[in-house]
């Protein structure tokens, strides 16, 4: 059956700037907001936008990510005419198919895309926190008779040199593209979200790779070549919360912003829900000795200490006498007695022993997955 639009999520990046947090797992699988992983936002956007077929391209440390996505049932992507497919590099008679860039990863998966035979391909990255209706973007793409539409967001001009910047005409047609310009001419930053007419992109990639094969990246190579060829390339303006959580600071900041009830993401809005793989845990337990203020708590937690401006993820234990402030505690972590934690990210299943202090002045302290700090007491 012909698919109108197939989504391809690029989830293979190493995410080195997240340090310890991406040592053993891919960035899109990093826990977020108490009961989510980063990729949940993109996957939920897909299902909410009516996209039924999703390919997830993985490469770096994919175990946790593959386990999380499974057959896609958590996002309703396991129906009779829908599905999520995990695409990993493989060997063939032509050699090994490791992905050397975003466009190269799509080129390596042409066989999969051809199988679903889409009219349009939506390219997404699996490491942004946002809510977006891709269907609305497709409508504009069609209305503009575009060959490529790039989603853009306005960023402060002084930060623009960190992004791929689009210079457009009055109809939002893209005239020029500058990758990380020293002197940006506009503040329209590429979000790394593209809609391509598949037939055209397929030809461009095949042609290129049959010759010199230099089209590794969308930003660096494909978009400039589309502009050079005079293709119809349009910008689609996105307004709303959008956060690239590629660094420790931005990950921590996005989590802290996530706590507040009036967060721009509007997590409690039922019309655009965020789905995740559910774990099996009883309701959380707040004891006699606890105090919880401006914080998020989820299933399986046991709280006997003080929690301020923080997020406790699934199955976190906070023992008596401990204080957690402005921190994200990832799933399964155990915080012993009389511990002080401030401005920190505590990794999944980490154990913080009694009386430990986790705090660094003017910095965000990170404790890795399953890391053990200090000595754990034997009782309870």
């Amino acid at each position: 059956m012909k698919t109108e639009m197939l989504a391809m999520i690029l989830a293979g990046g190493q995410g080195t700037r997240l340090g310890k947090l991406t040592k053993n797992i891919a960035k899109p699988a990093v826990p977020f907001g108490g009961r989510y992983r980063i990729i949940d936002f993109t996957l939920s956007n897909c299902i909410n936008s009516g996209i039924k077929n999703v390919g997830v391209i993985t490469q770096y440390q994919p175990l946790e990510l593959n386990n999380h996505i499974g057959n896609g049932a958590s996002w309703g992507l396991d129906g009779i005419d829908s599905g999520v497919t995990i695409l990993q590099p493989y060997s063939s008679s032509d050699g090994e198919k490791w992905f050397e860039g975003t466009a190269h990863a799509i080129y390596q998966n042409i066989a999969y895309i051809d199988q679903t035979d889409p009219q349009y391909v939506l390219i997404l990255s699996g490491d942004h926190i946002y809510k977006m209706n891709y269907e609305a973007m497709l409508e504009e793409h069609i209305a503009n008779n575009a060959s490529l539409t790039v989603a853009v967001i306005e960023v402060p001009l002084k930060e623009a040199s960190r992004f791929g910047i689009m210079n457009t005409d009055e109809n939002d047609r893209i005239i020029e593209f500058d990758e990380k310009p020293a002197e940006p001419k506009s503040n329209l930053a590429s979000m790394g979200i593209y809609i391509f007419n598949w037939g055209r992109l397929r030809n461009v990639l095949l042609n290129n790779y049959s010759k010199d094969g230099q089209m590794l990246d969308f930003g660096k190579h494909v978009i400039p070549s589309y502009l050079d060829a005079g293709e119809n390339v349009y910008a689609y303006r996105f307004e709303g919360y959008w956060k690239d959580v590629g660094t420790i600071e931005s990950l921590w900041e996005a989590n802290m912003e996530f706590i507040s009830l009036d967060n721009e993401l509007q997590m409690r809005d039922k019309s655009w829900r965020m789905f995740s793989k559910n774990t099996i845990s009883p309701p959380h337990f707040i004891t006699e000795t606890a105090s919880v203020s401006n914080s998020l708590v989820v299933d399986g937690c046991y709280v006997a200490g003080t929690v301020i401006d923080s997020i406790l993820s699934t199955d976190v234990q906070v023992k008596v006498g401990s204080t957690i402030e402005s921190s994200l505690i990832m799933p399964g972590a155990t915080i012993g007695k009389n511990v002080k934690i401030k401005n920190a990210i505590i990794g999944e299943n980490a154990i913080i022993g009694d009386n430990a202090v986790v705090y660094k002045e003017n910095d965000i302290e990170v404790i890795g997955y399953s890391e053990v700090i200090g000595v754990q007491s034997d009782e309870d």
Partner: protein, 383 residues
Amino acid sequence: MKTKKMCAILGNVSEFKGLLPLTEERPLDTLPFDCKYRLIDFPLSSIANANINSIFMIFNDKGSRSVFDHIGGGKEWNLDSLKNSYFVYFYQDFLKQKAQGLPYYSAIIDYLEKSEAEYTVLLGSSMLCAIDLRAVLKTHQKQNNKMTVVYKRMDREKLSANNHIIQVNKGGNTTSVQAFDQVLDKDKQLNLSMDIFIVQTEWLIEQLIIGQANNSPTSLIEFLGEKMLDTQTTAYEYTGYLSNIDDVPSYYQANMDMLDAQKFNSLMYTKQKVYTKRKNEVPTYYSEHSSVKNSQCATGCIIEGSLDSSLISRRSIVKKGAKVKQTIVMSNAQIEENAIVEYAILDKNVKVRAGVKISGTAQNPVVIEKNQVVEQDVIGGNE
């Protein structure tokens, strides 16, 4: 017949009048429990944990919508995989067939024959526990009787008139079965039959054929209770958490038990996992004004007021200045500013208006029915 394989028959068909109005629109099985569960999750999870892949369920036709709502495709309990299956029947159909003089066990017999299971487990939802059915099966196989019954030693005050009390000899078999109100012996603790049985399937089929020709009880649990009188039965002692739920106070107390860490752990944190319907709720938010002591909450809540010794279900909201104490709040409730709710059970979607007071007692909690908007004080508990 495949050796060692078990199938299960699940169903409480009594009406439990003492639970009204909570069971006005739902059977006991789908009563909410501990913020995010329904009572039926416990027997279904025990069945799933024992790798039993075929279930025959019997419900009252009244309130069956909530059962289907909850179980859906049965995915959460692994009932939707290729080799697993479940069947739903209505108790009233058996009663009708009996009244018409038809062989009223025929659907069950048919099921048992097709199940190809050597053993059949029978259990209900009113005895709240986390039973390891594989351990019961081991004892059943060792004792080599046709039937095994599970019991627990319970304090007298936790028993009710229609409970069955058994006596057990040194050989591990039952010697007598009596209704609690017939028991003369004055012991502080008695052996409560938990109405959980494991039987030889072939033997059960034979007994059902004889039974339906002799006007025996339509309820299978009652039927097997009677069978204990003339069949050598193995007694398996259960030592974990048990709550015998049959009226509002026992239901209230079972929930409150979950605030006792030992009881909570003994039901929820054993090697037996408890599965329930999945919801994608957002994390629960506690504002800087909240004050929470000794309470449990599910996800999706917003807590701005104070909670003391209470259980709050999914998507409930407790506004600033509201005080909730010793109360069970079911899902989607809204307790507005400065309201006071103590010793109460708020059913689903209840709204308590600002400043209103609801107050019951531990022995007699006030029940606010589903979808009610409470605009005036409700002071109860004097019965």
